[in-house]
Amino acid sequence: MTGFWSGRERPLAAVPAWIALLLALALAGQVFSQFARRVGAPSAAELPHAPSARALRLASLGEPAALARLAMIWLQAFDSGGANTVPYQQLDYPRVVAWLRAILATDPRSGYPLFAAARVYAENADPAKARLVCEFIFEEFAADPNRRWPALAHAALLAKHRLHDLPLARRYAAAIGRLATDESIPLWARQMEIFILEDMNELDAAKVMLGGLLATGRIRDPEEQRFLQRRLDELESRLKGANRR
């Protein structure tokens, strides 16, 4: 029996020089052409309409957990780079929300869609877009309050400090207090309405929230910790800049 790596080939010298030369040229041409037309992140306009959750489940071939996370990685690439100074501003938000909804329905136990909704898409400077995402988080929260409350808690903070809509923030906070009943949920979250009514600025509130999430072991993923810490630093520097002005 012949082994897989056993030498059945003639020596390299047996190859005519012109064939080797053309092979090298073709390889160089391929590398050069691909280098010349490198593609960046897709633009906002390229985001297609969201499929139904059923279609996504069909496409997952029985691996919804993997597909849901891959779809999130793919979705977050839209409008994230290129000539953008501020990412995610140009996106068609009803379309984004439809994608998030379909991905969440594909794997309802994944925290990725709501985390991205709260921490990435809801932080849009356009109040109408931010409001749309906050409402999406609120709608999805009720399906699994004990797992999804951190996203709604962040939406409540955004509603208070960015949208300056205290009734909306209180509505979200009250929903957490009413529906998130698990013992492991920190007290400040269960009493979110009081927390919202306290005279606390956005940075202090965000620090309390992040500290609480870390202390209760809710955030175990190192990437998530790094991302939230970066967001906190950005918030701090932005508020410092605003105070100086």
């Binding site: 082994g3 069909l58 071939l61 691996e63 993997a66 136990r109």
Partner: protein
């Protein structure tokens, strides 16, 4: 004259396994593991949350697909080569019955598939609990054995490599997606007309002839925990039943074929 071997199937299985180990299969399996680890590592770098879950689920899904493809391709190529080299005629000229030979081949390919599943389960220990991974590993082993049986049946019955690969892939993909297809066909938005009803009946009829591969080796088990022992047993017994069906169909075809 020497005594006839008592268990000719075991001898055939041994040679089939040796052939798999000496082919490119181990190298391709190692390359698949490296590629899956590399891709999942890259994806975890762009994730903003659930990086570990992303790595486990993507790596698991990729390795599952690789295991199935590699074992199917190996079985089809090996069976086709044996037929082309007239090795089958030579083997059947020996004192060995056709069923014993077919069962031996199936056993050998099943062992190769189980080894492949074991190799592919090991890297997932990086992210998953051993108890959850054990269920996934057993399930993947059963799945690769089923695919090996399907590939052997189609390669033996159809005799052409492309047709056998296409048939195996079709059976496998339908097995993994038939539940979703049935859900779509029976959804509230589906048309209530006669053609719509006929389509639903057709889908349900096809589903009766397929294994429920969507219920086994789920990436979710690696993230959210393995199913209960009874659920796992129920899913695997479904595969076992289908394996028996494929083995019997293969034996039936192989016994009546003129070489």
């Amino acid at each position: 004259m020497k005594d006839l071997p008592r268990f000719p199937s075991i001898i055939v299985a041994g040679y089939t396994l040796v052939e798999a180990l000496r082919s490119g299969l181990p190298w391709l399996a190692a390359a698949s593991v490296v590629a899956a680890l590399g891709l999942s590592g890259f994806l975890s770098q762009v994730a903003i949350t659930e990086a570990t879950a992303l790595q486990a689920s993507v790596c698991g899904a990729l390795l599952r697909a690789c295991a199935v493809f590699l074992i199917a391709a190996h079985v089809v190529a090996s069976t086709a080569r044996e037929a082309n080299d007239k090795g089958l005629e030579l083997a059947l000229a020996l004192p060995i019955s056709r069923p014993a030979y077919y069962i031996g081949k199936l056993l050998g390919f099943a062992c190769a598939g189980t080894l492949l599943a074991t190799l592919f389960a090991l890297p997932l220990l990086l992210w998953s609990k051993p108890a959850d991974l054990a269920a996934w590993w057993i399930s993947l082993a059963a799945e690769t054995v089923l695919v090996a049986a399907a590939a052997l049946f189609f390669a033996s019955a159809l005799t052409q490599m492309v047709a056998a690969m296409a048939a195996t892939a079709g059976l496998y993909l339908l097995g993994r997606s038939i539940a979703a297809i049935q859900a779509i066909a029976g959804g509230p938005l589906a048309a209530d007309s006669l053609p719509g009803e006929a389509a639903r009946w057709a889908v349900d009829a096809i589903a009766l002839l397929l294994p429920r591969l969507d219920l086994v080796t789920r990436g979710e088990w690696l993230l959210y925990g393995a199913p209960t022992a009874s659920e796992l047993f129920l899913s695997l017994s479904g595969l076992g039943l289908y394996l028996a069906l494929l083995a019997m169909a293969g034996l039936f075809d192989f016994s009546r074929r003129n070489l």
